[in-house]
């Protein structure tokens, strides 16, 4: 007797499934105050804005954006925001980390627009590093605006110093270097001298900053995307933990890159997000945590 073979294709998945592959840390690089990049020897094929799930056995597993990738190596750049990242920052060369992914909808490059402005705040600038490289390689002129509280906390200050087509702009809250004020002030200035039809804007960082970026751009008809962060359990679209109020879209599948117009239509953007229990928690407040 013959049986029907499965008649469906896996729409978004590799055939290897969502099971971590244990990879040794190849090297660790200090980036800025409290921020490090962990490199792994693995031919990851992530597009800018995509993330991997990183598993520290016995600790936890979290989504982290890819910040470096060259075909042989990939890197993730993290700052300490909790117990998981604290442990991640303690890892040394040779330590094993479980990796699944890459996951999510990446940033979209638009080759018809010759200019890209990237706005990163704090450690949120990490995925913009990979985006800047890719955009420049496509012939797009990149303005990378990096904001932080102070000079020592600026990510990728030197990374693109000698790269063609990438201009780095700095902004610090305390004025220790670059523009004294917000990264969004620099964006507003750059947008004023820009033809909206030539430009696309990308942002990742604190949600209040991304909201300002999205509003500044929407008011000028400049298209672009934010990179959203939400509490994730599965990372591949089944648990529902990261769905955003309004469309109900999954940040892990339909995001994390979402267009300005799309994200501004969501009431929770910049206001609240869900904790591990699924309860909405206002930005800046602590919610229910595992363990």
């Amino acid at each position: 007797m013959t049986h029907d073979r499965p008649t469906f294709e896996f729409p978004t998945r590799s055939r290897t499934g969502e099971v971590p592959r244990m990879l040794p840390v190849r090297k660790v690089a200090d980036e800025a105050q409290g921020m490090r990049t962990l490199f792994f020897s693995y031919p990851l094929d992530a597009a800018p804005g995509q993330f991997v799930m990183l598993w520290l056995p016995g600790v936890d597993q979290k989504p982290i954006s890819v910040s470096y990738q060259d075909g042989a190596l990939f890197g993730i750049t993290v700052a300490e925001v909790g117990p998981f990242t604290r442990r991640l920052l303690q890892l040394k060369s040779g330590d094993l980390v479980g990796v699944t992914g890459p996951y999510g909808t990446p940033f979209t490059l638009d080759r018809k627009r010759p200019r890209a402005i990237l706005v990163g705040g704090g450690c949120g600038a990490a995925p913009l590093g990979l985006l800047a490289e890719r955009a420049a390689a496509e012939g797009i002129a990149v303005d990378l605006i990096i904001g932080a509280q102070t000079e020592r906390a600026l990510l990728f200050r030197e990374r693109f110093a000698r790269r063609r087509r990438i201009t780095t702009h700095l902004a610090t809250d305390d004025g220790s270097v670059g523009h004294a004020g917000f990264a969004t002030d620099v964006l507003a200035r750059l947008l004023d001298g820009t033809d909206p039809s030539d430009t696309r804007v990308y942002t990742c960082g604190p949600e209040a900053m991304m909201r300002t970026v999205a509003q500044l751009c929407a008011a000028r008809d400049v298209p672009g995307q934010v990179l959203m962060e939400r509490y994730m359990k599965c990372g591949f679209g089944v648990c529902g933990q990261c769905c955003i109020d309004g469309s109900g879209k999954r940040v892990c599948v339909e995001g994390p890159a979402l267009s300005f117009g799309e994200i501004l239509a969501h009431a929770e953007f910049g206001k609240y997000s869900r904790d591990a229990s699924g309860h909405p928690v206002r930005k800046g407040q602590r919610g229910c945590e595992t363990r």
Binding site: D4, P6, T7, F8, F10, P11, T12, R13, R15, G17, E18, V19, P20, M22, M53, W55, P57, G58, V59, D60, Q61, K62, L96, G98, K233, C234, F236, G237, V238, C239, G240, Q241, C243, I244, D245, G246, S247, G248, K249, R250, V253, R274, D275, A276, S277, G278, H279, C288, E289, T290, R291
Partner: protein
């Protein structure tokens, strides 16, 4: 999605435009997500299980997926009944299809307490999750595996609400039919079978430890379909209430098989991973095509027909 006439059914005053039902625990955290699942074709949706108090659940990893199965131990994360009323009410308001509120507790009284709180949101059905395998003896176990305890949960809930009650059964018991008969005698209006199988375990060879933070987790997806079909087949012979056949359904033909075994509706969860969030529309369309091709005029002609042989 347009309503496929041959697929529509009514149960307890609720219209199911097609037999696909979002299973509890998948995409059921928020009202917006449930409404999105309905836009993707579901005939009804089930919330993630709500209990008496807030729970963060287990640390990650909580889900593993492979070609043949998913293994999960989320650990009943939920904001607690009081904090869930508003979300459930928003779901009932915002959903154009029946909303099933899944509930759990550590005692029969806790089940009833959760139902009393959530009843204000007016869900179309409650579903008693007496069968979660991922929280040890903490929740579910004694109820899902003991017919007297399971019946007690049903009695307490029925004493609290007139909202129709679905009981979700565990396959991990020596005699599923005995428990089903007990909960039906106690007043269950529908059954949902099955919850996840096992629990199972996956050990990573390099990490030399189980991958799931909870170590073990419930097995779902294509691998468990034969068990689910057999359970529904056995239940259909033993009880008169409608059955939501759940376990490994990914295609219209899977749904047809489950309905032939005796299901009235089919639960879909893990197939969101295998076929995308629009799996509900796909399964409904494929089931409709199968029924048209073989001359079935309605679900009623398909239901339980495997028993006629």
């Amino acid at each position: 999605m347009h309503t496929l006439a041959t697929l529509s059914q009514d149960y307890h005053g609720s219209v199911f435009s097609n037999p696909t039902v979002l299973a509890a625990g998948i995409l059921g955290v928020s009202a917006s997500s449930l409404a999105n699942v309905i836009r993707n074709g579901a005939g009804a949706v089930t919330t993630k299980s709500v209990g008496p108090a807030a729970r963060a659940g287990h640390p990650n990893p909580v889900v593993i997926a492979t070609d043949g199965y998913l293994l999960n131990a989320v650990g009943l994360s939920n904001p607690g009944a009081e904090a869930s009323v508003e979300e459930l009410a928003a779901a009932v308001r915002g959903c154009s299809a029946p909303v099933i509120a899944s509930v759990f507790g550590s005692t029969a009284q806790e089940f009833a307490d959760v139902v009393r709180v959530l009843d204000a949101a007016k869900p179309a059905f409650f579903e008693a999750n007496i069968s979660c395998p991922n929280v040890g003896s903490e929740f579910g176990r004694p109820f899902g595996t003991d017919s007297a305890a399971a019946a007690k949960v049903v009695e307490e809930i029925k004493g609290e609400t007139a909202t129709p009650l679905i009981v979700k059964l565990s396959p991990n018991v020596p005699d599923l039919v005995e428990i089903a008969k007990a909960v039906c005698a106690a007043g269950a209006d529908m059954l949902c079978a099955i919850n996840t199988v096992g629990p199972g375990m996956l050990i990573d060879l390099a990490a030399r430890r189980p991958v799931l933070a909870n170590r073990s987790g419930g097995l779902s997806g294509p691998a468990i379909k034969p068990i689910a079909v057999r359970c529904v087949y056995d239940l259909y012979r033993a009880v008169d209430v409608p059955i939501i056949g759940t376990g490994g359904i990914s295609t219209g033909k899977d749904a047809a098989e489950m309905i032939m075994a005796g299901a009235s509706l089919v639960g879909i969860g893990s197939a969101v991973y295998y076929r995308g969030i629009d799996v509900f529309a796909k399964v409904a369309r494929e089931l409709d095509a199968f029924m048209q091709e073989h001359g079935y005029a309605g679900i009623g002609q398909l239901r339980g027909c495997a028993h006629d042989a």
